[in-house]
């Protein structure tokens, strides 16, 4: 299938619904497997840190959730762009399907950060550039959620959310580079694929497994919600009624 053909098919929620039938389960299964492995490995078997002892282990939750919270926002930005330019129905559904997941991951990232900060830094919260820009991300997710609820007409709500999602992506490079541009209490990135790991393999591998796991969870959540959203919005069409009555979900 060529790119152009795929592009046209993406305009059809029906095609997407039928094609993606098995994906949520596959991604969900992978996520469960990877997250269980990575979390057990990181929390129970990886060695303690020479400085922080066991409290560094919260990194195995903190780093993956922080990464995926930002990636989810970037996906929303791209979807917003596609909605604004091509008026693609599926893009609007992606926009509304991601918000709960991104919101929970950002909240989890901030929470684990606070729990980690208390024993290591000596404070639950410090207003440095990294933590503050991450808090802004949380508010952007809240904003997207509220904006959709506030506008009754679906099409208008979608466009408004698309603009907010797109403009909000400016915050993502700020989060990423905040620790390089300014003096912060937060340390630089623990996990990058472009540089050599900042820790021995035995500590890095569980982190990699959990990062992959949380991205699979993102995939499963997004596709599952997207399929639900397609059924909801297309409920009056014949094909949805056939799918629902035949029970072939």
């Amino acid at each position: 299938m060529g790119i152009k053909q795929l592009w046209h098919r993406l305009g059809s929620p029906r095609w997407f619904f039928e094609m993606s039938r098995r994906w949520p389960l596959i991604f969900g299964g992978l996520a469960l497997l990877l997250l269980l492995t990575g979390t057990l490995w990181g929390l129970a078997f990886a060695p303690a840190d020479y400085q922080q002892g066991n409290s560094f282990r919260i990194m195995y939750i903190h780093v993956p959730t922080s990464l995926v919270a930002q990636s989810a926002y970037i996906v929303m930005g791209v979807a917003g762009f596609m909605l604004l330019v091509w008026r693609m129905k599926l893009a609007d559904m992606v926009l509304s399907a991601i918000v709960p997941f991104g919101l929970s991951m950002t909240a989890l990232s901030l929470f684990t950060g606070a729990v980690w900060g208390r024993p290591t830094w000596g404070a639950w919260w410090v207003w440095d550039a990294r933590t503050t820009s991450m808090l802004v991300l949380l508010f952007l997710y809240f904003g997207l959620y509220a904006l959709r609820q506030a506008i009754p007409r679906q099409e208008t709500a979608g466009r408004a959310c698309a603009v907010l999602a797109l403009v909000g992506t400016i915050n993502i490079p700020i989060i990423k580079y905040s620790v390089d541009w300014w003096l912060t209490l937060h340390q630089p990135a623990s996990f990058t694929l472009t540089e050599a790991p900042s820790m021995p393999m035995i500590m890095w591998m569980p982190l990699l497994v959990n990062v992959l796991g949380v991205y699979c969870l993102f995939g499963a959540n997004l596709l599952g919600r997207l399929r639900l959203e397609i059924l909801k919005r297309e409920h009056s069409t014949q094909w949805v009624q056939e799918v629902v009555t035949s029970g072939r979900l």
């Binding site: 400085q51 560094f56 604004l84 000596g122 541009w181 300014w182 990135a189 500590m203």
Partner: protein, 152 residues
């Protein structure tokens, strides 16, 4: 691409670029105010305000930590290993990571005598984790610079 879509694309690109440039300008204008602490050279060189609540940071100088035997009073020197040093007084419980050679943030007031009275001490750590058996070495000056982001 149809003209209608091209027009929408152009509008959106302008919107995005405009928002991006405004945010960038704000950040550039705020620049140093976005730093969460004053590094030692600014504390010593008069770049940090006196007698107001500020945060300052540096590495704890080896051998500079002095404790009073009968209390929680502690004094230590923060340095950037590049010649700028200042003394900090603090009464209270230090974070677990507080040690010589560690990156530390202190919140409190800088006196006109150049001595910092801290009301809160925060420990900074870097992104390098390792098991205890690999960690025979104390942080060297390179990590010190990393901790304070001096090589940026």
């Amino acid at each position: 691409m149809r003209p209608k879509r091209r027009n929408r694309l152009i509008i959106i690109v302008f919107l995005f670029a405009g928002a991006g440039i405004s945010v960038a300008l704000v950040l550039v204008a705020l620049n140093e105010n976005l730093n969460v602490f004053y590094p030692p050279d600014q504390v010593v060189g008069g770049g940090a305000p006196v007698d107001t609540q500020i945060r300052a940071g540096g590495m704890v100088l080896d051998g500079s930590v002095a404790r009073r035997a009968d209390g929680l009073d502690v004094a230590f020197v923060l340095t950037d290993y590049q010649g700028a040093e200042f003394t900090v007084y603090y009464r209270g419980i230090l974070p677990d990571l507080f040690r010589e050679g560690q990156g530390i943030l202190v919140q409190g007031q800088l006196g006109s005598d150049g001595v910092f009275q801290a009301s809160q001490v925060l420990a900074k750590h870097d992104e390098n984790y390792m098991p205890p058996e690999l960690a025979g070495m104390s942080p060297d000056k390179r990590t010190a610079r990393n901790l304070l982001n001096y090589d940026r």
